[in-house]
Amino acid sequence: MNYTFDFTPIFQAWGLLAQGAWATVYISAISMALGLVFGIVLTALRMAPLAPLRAFAIGYIELVRNTPFLVQVFFIYFGMPELGLRLNAMEAAILTMTLNCSAYIAEIVRSGVESIRPGQIEAGKALGLSTPDVYRFIVFRPAIRAVYPSLCSQFVLMMLNTSLVASISAQELTYAAQMIDNRTFRSFEVYFVLGAIYLVLSQLFSVGLSMIGRVYFSYPTK
């Protein structure tokens, strides 16, 4: 082994990496929030009394979950302009992330909703809660609380997935690292540091998400 490691050019470019990390957090946070909203809508469609709505939701969820994120990114970024939807890299990245997230979230939320016993809903109605209130307090909140841990790990996976949007030159963390790599030719060192940054980010995400969960779901269980 006659390779001398040199990390200095990478640390000199810390500004680029910090900017990239911020962009990664930004893309992830927006897509998670939007994905959660669309995911819940999809769950509702998936459990709707109308068969065509259910079929649409199932088709969408399975199509998204059984194709690679990278292909979805290319499809949206390179394919959509043919249909007249021209997006810049960042918009395409956020759109694809959101569409991708919503399918996974829908599957997770559905298993949460299915864990709510019908008696709960009947009890809510008997207590005189309006239908929206029944869904808000008795179905969705406990459902999401029940599946919150798997939702969190899905969110972390999604954050890690944002590394792929560098391939359409959306300027996030991996893109910043590739720029440093092109300038310094210190490929191994660059990606080693990059891996470390992602590791820290994913730990921060899981701690942050579980704190949000503790605050939001801090009402008694029984």
Binding site: R65, N66, G195
Partner: protein, 216 residues
Amino acid sequence: MIRTFGFPELLFILDGAKWTVLMSLAAFLFGGLLGLLVALARTSKIRPARFLALCYIQLFQGTPLLIQLFIVYFGLPIIGIRVELWLALITGLSLHASGFLAEIWRGSIQAVPEGQTEAARALGLGYISRMRDVVLPQAFRISLPATVGFMVNLVKGTALAALLGLTELTRAGQLMSNITFEPLKVYATVGLVYFAICLPLTLVSSRLERRLNARG
């Protein structure tokens, strides 16, 4: 000359799928062997082994697959191993798979009731026989849905090989998109090929899960 997206282009894409399937199988095989060792270390009585296995799993679950592939690809030559791109990719994918499979199998091993281990020990079985004959067969059944589910992720993960330049399914799509200027059709086709590979696995996984739940 601009070609239109026709049969030869479709064949080229399908030819790329060969690599996708091959890499998935190889990564699952090698990742599975390594993952089993890590899962056993993670559930062993030896504290340092448990800790090391935990770090190993966290490392692979806490960094993007793309970066893992880059590190293996650029790192192997540094430790004096010069390999072809496809071998580096299979190595990277196998390591990735081992981390995730280890975590799935850790859960399954721990889901086997404690009484089974105690009974096996009372019968005088040693660690190897206890694991091989009593715990692992039961853990295997519990782990099946999640394991098959992970295979879907692995197939999708092989798409990243395109970013390092191996002409598998996604890269074949990129090439065809570049010469036909019909990205919509090309990527839809590529997506459908992945869908055709992954959907059966997904269906098997959810069927296994239902069967497992039914048995309680």
